[in-house]
Amino acid sequence: MKKLINDPSDVVTEALTGMALAEPGLRVDADQRVVYRAEPKDAGKVALVSGGGSGHEPMHGGFVGFGMLDAACAGEVFTSPVPDQILAATREVDRGAGVLHIVKNYTGDVMNFEMAAELAAADDVQVQTVVTADDVAVEDSTWTAGRRGVGVTVLVEKIAGAAAEAGLSLDEVAALARRVSEGGRSMGMALTSCTVPAAGKPTFDLPDDEMEIGIGIHGEPGRHRVPLAPASQIAPMLLDPILGDLDFTGGEVICFVNGMGATPELELYLMYGEIAKLLQEKGIRVARSLVGSYMTSLDMAGCSVTLLRADDELLRWWDSPVQTPGLRWGR
């Protein structure tokens, strides 16, 4: 295993320590492993808390700041945070208007956020939860734990964050977040496995001439393994299942091409070009795009594509100023 780390069990704490020193806009509680805004939001505004396993940076800690999250709870690598952290963050950021929990649909994340929400309710903090579940690689049936929450989470955090900043109520922000979550679909692929520091070796073996289609963001192997193919053939492998699951034709979308951690920007832009070409052929208009490594899986090489149904309201929130280490414009 080749990584810029010390003891694998200290990775998360040490990274948070470095982040605290590097990012003056953040305040980091390295003990509780919660990343806060250095300047809390005004009283009376809805707060947003997210979190999850570490190893997906900049998600979520890198999305704390004006126009996006109020706090992010960092679990161990690929392990959801514990209720204590989530409760501490929820209490701390509540400005009297309630707190929205943004949770990716994984058994562990859902259970830990659920326990924290139960405890927060006992404290009279109003909590609502939106669970993202946009990964079309997983069938949503009684045969699974439901779809995984992936790329749309970034878009939910941006859009709900803008609405919370503008002063919408908890019910309104939560409804908006759910609308975004429901209007987004994603599909990912991996060229290589990631290596979890504590495990010390790649989570799965992938021969030089094969790739995994339908992977998650925790090194879960994909739904199927296929021979390596050029970008022009990978693009439809990702896009077709998305379009087969939700009808995007005729409308506008936000198109998000995401790198899994070890994918050069050169390749991501190239991939975006392939996706954009296919969307144009199908008459789907891209209103906004986002290309970069925003939701990663440690050192995995690969990418994911997320499409989100857009309308004027969503685009207005999307364009609103945001000022976080990971996403920043208009301010």
């Binding site: 069990s9 396993g53 679990g75 392990t79 514990v82 058994t107 997983v138 495990a199 799965f204 090194g219």
Partner: protein, 217 residues
């Protein structure tokens, strides 16, 4: 000398022994989780039970409930993931059933196991056959019941025998997960590709009963 009932030191011994066992088995558990999950079950369990042992060392428990609740809270607070809330709930429920005494007899422990199983099922919503730790836990609880019922007039050996039966059943339950297609947890994302792999959580659950057998025997 076989134990006739759980005592505070015996319960602490169980947790300690299991902490050592999961630390020793951490790489194997993680390897199982690499195949159908996210390669962290070993480190999760090791971290959680190390925290439980530390907590028990720092504030020596007075009652059986103390041991089990401290363990449960440590797991909830230090593990995260799926196994944190599930194993945490298991011990919190078992502790609630144990009451504020310094001993727990075989019957009360059996009732505690039922409460624990119910709690884990409520939290995780998994059924037998979903390829989770429920597949080891459910038959273990059933085997415990059956053994206890057989010991018509609860004898000195009732606890030890029931735990031994539970351990055997847990191991069989663990093995039964291999051919299954997962329906809960991360492994379910793999669809048919989950078939042929032993479930990591069922494996650690079988180890938990084995540790109980070891300390009571």
């Amino acid at each position: 000398m076989p134990a006739t009932e759980w005592t505070v030191p015996l319960l602490v011994d169980w947790i300690r022994t299991y902490a050592d066992d999961v630390a020793a088995a951490a790489d194997d558990l993680t390897a199982l989780d690499s195949a159908i999950g996210d390669a962290d079950h070993g480190s999760n369990m090791k971290r959680g039970f190390a925290a439980a042992v530390t907590a028990l060392d720092e504030k020596p428990p007075a009652t059986c409930a103390d041991v089990l609740k401290t363990t449960g809270m440590s797991l909830v607070s230090h593990v995260g993931g799926a196994s944190g809330p599930l194993y945490g709930t298991f011990f919190l429920r078992l502790g609630a059933a144990a009451g504020t005494e310094t001993t727990v007899d075989a019957t009360t422990f059996g009732a505690g196991l039922h409460a624990a199983l119910d709690g884990v099922r409520a939290r995780g919503k998994a059924e037998v056959g979903d390829k989770t730790l429920i597949d080891a836990l459910t038959p273990a609880v059933e085997a415990y019941d059956a053994a206890l019922a057989k010991a018509a007039d609860p004898s000195d050996d009732a606890l030890v025998d029931a735990i031994a039966e539970a351990t055997k059943a847990a191991a069989i339950g663990r093995d039964s997960t291999t051919p299954l297609q997962a329906r809960r947890g991360r492994a379910s994302y793999l669809g048919e590709r989950s078939v042929g792999h032993q479930d990591p959580g069922a494996t650690s659950m079988a180890l938990l009963f084995a540790a109980a057998e070891q300390v009571t025997r």
